[in-house]
């Protein structure tokens, strides 16, 4: 137990160091850092306009109001930019480390290799976008009575949803052990949370099952949103937690198999 706590502390320290180093590097290019907010603003405005048109015709979509739809969208956007902020660049670059053998240097270090390959490169430019998405989320829940348990559970379930997304992207990245190429799949996997911005009830049952179990976009976005809005389905909450653990175990298994297969390509 003590060993585990020490390992966790060490991992957290490394993670914070990566964040700090990447943040300072990002600040070198201040124009890029600030202008990162522009695409976010444009995209959010476009979606807002789109939803405004839809809701000028109907008061609700399968029971989901305008603001509730914006809540789904805001959570999805936080996840989307969150992947860039924390791990997407590292996972996209992972296949390069297989091809040119630089993974060796990570394997030799006295730290958790998975942690190193997942969080080494980050995009701090996404921080303003995330902050804006959080503001958007706050705007969308203005009519909702928020309670402390709701917010606490929302943060917890969102973390599970985000962890599912990370595990899926990680699995896609480490496919490079077998295929040597995985950047494109990782890029696309980062976008699956976008499908969660729609209420499941608009989809036919088969598509719903697909997006709960195969590409679990609904677990990532929809379930946290229902928790925040005070309309949670406990079965789905439980499913999200189980899926977070299951995807982690599967990714761990594939990671170890991949490491066994890995033979350095460096000179």
């Amino acid at each position: 137990m003590k060993h585990m706590a020490t390992e966790l502390r060490k991992s957290l320290k490394i993670f914070i160091l990566f964040m700090k180093a990447n943040f300072l590097t990002g600040l070198e290019y201040r124009f890029d850092f600030i202008s990162g907010i522009l695409p976010t603003l444009a995209y959010m405005f476009a979606y807002f306009a789109f939803m405004s048109v839809i809701f000028s015709k109907v008061p609700a979509i399968n029971g989901w109001t305008f603001n509730q739809m914006l809540t789904l969208f805001a959570i999805e956007q936080i996840f989307f930019y969150g992947t860039y902020l924390f791990f997407k660049p590292s996972l996209v670059n992972f296949s390069d480390s297989i091809k040119n053998g630089t993974l060796d240097s990570s394997l030799r270090l006295p730290a958790n290799t998975r942690l190193l390959v997942s969080f080494k490169d980050q995009t701090p430019d996404m921080l303003p976008s995330i902050l804006f998405a959080i503001l958007f989320l706050m705007y969308s829940v203005q009519d909702t009575t928020l309670t402390f348990p709701n917010i606490f559970l929302f943060v917890l379930i969102s973390a599970c949803g985000f962890f599912i997304l990370y595990n899926i992207m990680f699995i896609c990245a480490i496919l490079a052990f077998w295929t040597t190429e995985s950047e494109e799949v990782v890029e696309l996997a980062g976008e699956i949370s976008q499908l969660g911005r729609f209420p499941p009830s608009i989809f036919p049952p088969l598509a719903q099952a697909f997006m709960f179990f195969i590409i679990p976009a609904f677990l990532m976005v929809f379930v946290p949103a229902t928790v925040l809005l005070g309309i949670p389905d406990l079965k789905l909450v439980l499913l999200t937690i189980i899926m977070a653990i299951a995807t982690y175990l599967v990714s761990r298994l594939i990671w170890h198999q991949g490491l066994k297969k890995y033979s350095s390509a460096s000179s």
Binding site: A42, A49, I54, V58, L175, E184, E187
Partner: protein, 264 residues
């Protein structure tokens, strides 16, 4: 021409190289389009016509948006920026080719390859649900679509090229590119048909070349543009293509003068 066909062919092969990505992209693209259609289907439960569109017309609209997205690309912006940033652009200065034509061939080959499976899925969708697809009222509109499609593709690619050229002056254009992609998408009807826009915004869009992108091509397909207006629009569209080309050429030449590369 032969060398650009070779560039196209090489890019096509590269694009097809990532099969897992192709499948993944096709599935997410189709699911996203289906989600949009299902969202609209909720609206049509109470009304038969919204903004002049019946439900099959709106389904056709979003299918066509998807089809047009298969060819419209901001890739020239991304590619040129990467080349300038990495210094690999220097290689092109020595080659006996037109960089713009190279970019067009490369972008088209890559884009078509990467979207090929999505295209197949769209065709399957059309075959499975023909009742939701509205076909053009007559052959004239289908024929008229060909030049407009080519010109609108050129407009989109040239916008990408212009953004790419900015990389001679700024360190990274990815934020500008993504913003432009979103704004152009919204104002040209990729999100919602332009008829839903407020009149003042519509008048603004009509002054810009992006008017000839998504919404115009789809209106043409659906026979919503009077035939006698087509020659004038064709001239205007060609004017925009030529104007953007000349602007691009001017700034590209200036950019090259500014370009610096060192190292091996």
């Amino acid at each position: 021409m032969k060398k650009y066909l070779l560039v196209f062919s090489n890019a096509w092969q590269v694009g097809l190289g990532y099969r897992g990505a192709l499948v993944f992209k096709a599935i997410t693209d189709v699911l996203f389009t289906v989600a949009l259609i299902l969202l609209w289907s909720v609206l049509y439960q109470n009304e038969e016509v919204i903004g002049g569109f019946t439900f099959p017309e709106i389904v056709t609209y979003y299918i066509l948006v998807r089809v047009l997205s298969l060819v419209y690309t901001m890739f020239p912006a991304r590619y040129l920026t990467n080349q300038v940033k990495s210094g690999r652009f220097s290689t092109f200065l020595l080659l006996p080719i037109s960089y713009f034509k190279y970019l067009l061939s490369h972008s088209l080959g890559l884009k078509l390859a990467r979207e090929s499976l999505t295209f197949c899925l769209i065709v399957i969708f059309i075959l499975l649900f023909p009742q939701y697809i509205v076909f053009p009222p007559n052959i004239v509109y289908v024929l008229a679509m060909v030049p407009f499609l080519i010109l609108s593709w050129l407009i989109y690619a040239q916008l990408g090229f212009l953004i790419g050229i900015m990389s001679f002056w700024v360190s990274d254009t990815s934020n500008i590119r993504t913003t432009a992609d979103q704004v152009v998408g919204l104002l040209s009807g990729a999100w919602i048909p332009l008829v839903f826009f407020p009149p003042i915004l519509l008048s603004l869009v009509n002054l810009l070349p992006i008017k000839f992108l998504y919404s115009y091509i789809i209106s043409l397909y659906q026979g919503k543009i009077p035939i006698n207006q087509l020659p004038f629009d064709l001239v205007l569209c060609t004017f925009w293509v030529v104007a953007l080309y000349l602007i691009g050429r001017h700034f590209f030449a200036k950019g090259i003068k500014r370009y610096e590369a060192y190292g091996n």
